[in-house]
């Protein structure tokens, strides 16, 4: 199966790398893709996220809480933002983490039958995670992951018809 990517999807993937750099992550993870989707104006995917209260700022805050909560389960109370600064080589291309690769596989499946992979397909891929940072972050933000996924799917279906 050959997947063609809409221009918006390429833009999101690039922006996700910038999000990963900004949070000092050595890999691009699904949460960085989600942040990038939420920051790209004029897409259905961004509108659906915003309607669930998930704008870029809200996602960022919920992600910080997720890290804090997960570390405190291990008895760690450090704020990762307070660590000494590490310089990241700007010329180095960041690898895609496992969560992003899995999200892209799900997105490719979701876009089967469509002409191109659209941001909504990518969002379906990210929201398909059963465990990990994104589902935990959504729970902390008080968002019903299943309902949100359904809303994205119905938006995508309307467009395809």
């Amino acid at each position: 199966m050959v997947t063609r990517f809409a221009q918006h999807v390429r833009t999101i993937v690039k922006a996700a790398e910038a999000e990963a750099r900004a949070s000092a992550s050595p890999t691009v993870e699904a949460e960085h893709v989600l942040l990038a989707i939420s920051a790209l104006d004029g897409t259905d995917a961004q509108r659906v996220l915003a309607s669930a209260g998930l704008d870029h700022h809200a996602i960022k805050l919920a992600l910080e809480r997720e890290v804090h909560q997960s570390l405190s389960a291990a008895g760690i109370t450090i704020d990762p933002g307070q660590l000494p600064h590490a310089t990241i080589d700007p010329s180095r291309h960041l690898r895609m983490g496992a969560s992003t690769r899995t999200a892209l596989e799900r997105a490719a499946k979701a876009s089967a039958g469509a002409r191109q992979m659209q941001p909504c397909h990518l969002l379906i891929g990210v929201l398909g995670a059963q465990a990990g940072t994104v589902p935990r972050m959504l729970a902390l933000a008080g968002v019903d992951q299943g309902k949100l996924t359904e809303r994205v799917r119905s938006t995508t279906d309307e467009k395809t018809q």
């Binding site: 997960s70 310089t87 902390l140």
Partner: protein
Amino acid sequence: MSDVEIASPHDPADGLAAVAALRRLADQMENAEVERAMRAGWSWPQVAEALGVTRQAVHKKHASRLIAAGVTLRRR
């Protein structure tokens, strides 16, 4: 937003999430601390020994990043 409810630490979901978060934290700390040590004039063998890894491993992982950051690296 509601208050954070920390579920029982016996919940494997929390345990696994803690492992993932600790790995990310350790990576971030390693990047920051290696850079700090090299800026302070530590050598690769010293940093490697302090981390408990080989000199080759620490060099491979951090050299290009630190060179790009303009850190003056000691030969030995």
